[in-house]
Symmetry: C2
């Protein structure tokens, strides 16, 4: 496992209905990340399209693609040119009638390293993901990149301490959470601040409980749906350290790249000073593999 | 299960070497809590003594007592008088040579309801708990009190998402964490704020991830040890709601009672709006019952 410091970057951006244009925007920000010294970059969830899960529409399955496939081919060429690891969230067509919400990891030499399939699939008004995505079957994963070992989870996963724990236990010094989360416009005034705050808080909690960096790029902008409603993606992308302290934090308007240096040796030292792994009571954790009992 | 709102209270206080005096102080604050409408009150960890785990000294085993025993008898009488549930952290003598860090729950009619034995035992400089306490063997628990169902964990447990999850899955609307955590005086200037912040952050994360209230009473004050060193307990006791928002938060000097109203029906509604229990991937959580693999 690589054990030297590396620079991570996350991109906060808005999307249009034009996939080619979204790829151009992502490319622009990845080039900007390179200028900032970024070695491992992560884009927001499903960055090639609007957040189509706002409605249940069979036409959108046409957006899906194989992974590896055309998008990872393009990003592989870009990764090699920039000598940069790229973590890219894509809509995966596994086979006819079966699709996943998937993140591909491309190494700095352009090699496709593998993929993580979103394990926890939400289903809430305007987040109808259970219609589109079969829950992941690859489990929780780490990826050994040129610059360091990383963990990848996706959006709704971020509310599940089990996912963060199982990812951090594999040794990653940082967990990326490509995200698409926003406000229902009618709720923004009353619940807006509470919502992005709790979104950050639960992830900062994972950072503390696992002595791991967390880096979460979210999308921004109001995306109108064909039904006249919409979601306003709330940004507030952030990177925090192993104490849950913000290294960088965006507002709901910022477009661009945020960076941080991750030092695996410093992370290991934190795991010695805050030795949770030492004291886990694994023989008493069996009920974590069960649902709650009936009342 | 009781499902009506109830008022909780936590006591932040300092301790002396005199157990009778500490019980008097606790009694004073429990009476004050009653005046504030508290129905379920929780005291800090091991409130009857200084934090003796600062050194490894066999003499301190003399502080331990049976549970139920003299302290729960006294508190039972007080609980009945005040019609108040009391959550009390005590040093338990199980039998000759075997001791636990235990919290007793006494119902509002004075009945001893049961105990939770601290499952995760720390061992760090001046927190030599592994010398004194055998890790708990009762598992993670809820208690059905007169006013509502509560969960109880203790101090170092608060860094383990597994403990919060297993407690919340049993239905409690609030988890109490009696605590004794402080600064090494020499570290306070450099790390002091980071330390109490991460202590709160990880617990606020549990609140969000489990849609549960968290209430954590800590001790305050500098406790000198016989070796000339000591710990300065950092207070910052707090109660937060299911979004991790502070309802009350203390500084490092406050002595007294903090309160909040817990509404189990509102908690249940949060669990419908943020339905983590619905989406847990229990068939993929098996490795939570294992230690990390060798690298």
């Amino acid at each position: 496992m690589k054990n030297t410091p590396f620079t991570i970057g996350i991109v906060q951006m808005s999307m249009t209905a034009d996939a080619a244009h979204n790829m151009e925007t992502a490319t622009k920000w990845l080039r900007e990340a390179k200028k900032k010294g970024v070695q491992v970059a992560c884009l927001p969830e499903l960055f090639l399209s609007p957040y189509f899960c706002q409605s249940e529409n069979h036409d959108f399955f046409a957006l899906a693609e194989a992974i590896p496939g055309p998008s990872t081919d393009y990003l592989g060429t870009l990764a090699k040119e920039l000598d940069m690891v790229i973590v890219a969230s894509l809509f995966e067509r596994r086979t006819a009638g079966m699709y996943h919400n998937t993140t591909a990891v491309i190494d700095a030499d352009g090699t496709y390293l593998g993929k993580y399939r979103k394990m926890h699939i939400p289903d809430d008004p305007r987040y109808y993901e259970k219609f589109y995505f079969t829950p992941g079957d690859l489990g929780f994963k780490n990826f050994d990149t040129k610059y360091g070992r990383i963990g990848v989870l996706i959006c709704w996963d971020q509310w599940f301490p089990e996912a963060a724990r199982l990812t951090a236990m594999q040794g990653a010094s940082v967990i990326f959470y490509p995200t698409a989360i926003g406000w229902h416009p009618a709720e923004k005034a009353q619940y807006g601040e509470e919502q992005w705050n709790k979104w950050q808080t639960v992830q900062r909690g994972h950072a503390v409980a696992n002595n791991v960096f967390v880096a979460s790029p979210n999308r921004i902008g109001l995306e109108k749906d064909a039904d006249g409603g919409g979601l306003e993606f709330f940004g507030h992308s952030f990177i925090c350290d192993t104490s849950g302290r913000y290294i960088e934090q965006a507002d709901e308007k910022f477009e661009g790249v945020m960076t941080a240096v991750v030092d695996p040796a410093a992370v290991e030292k934190q795991r010695q000073y805050w030795p949770y792994f030492r004291d886990r009571r694994i023989e008493h954790y069996g009920k974590l593999t069960e649902h709650p009992s009936e009342e």
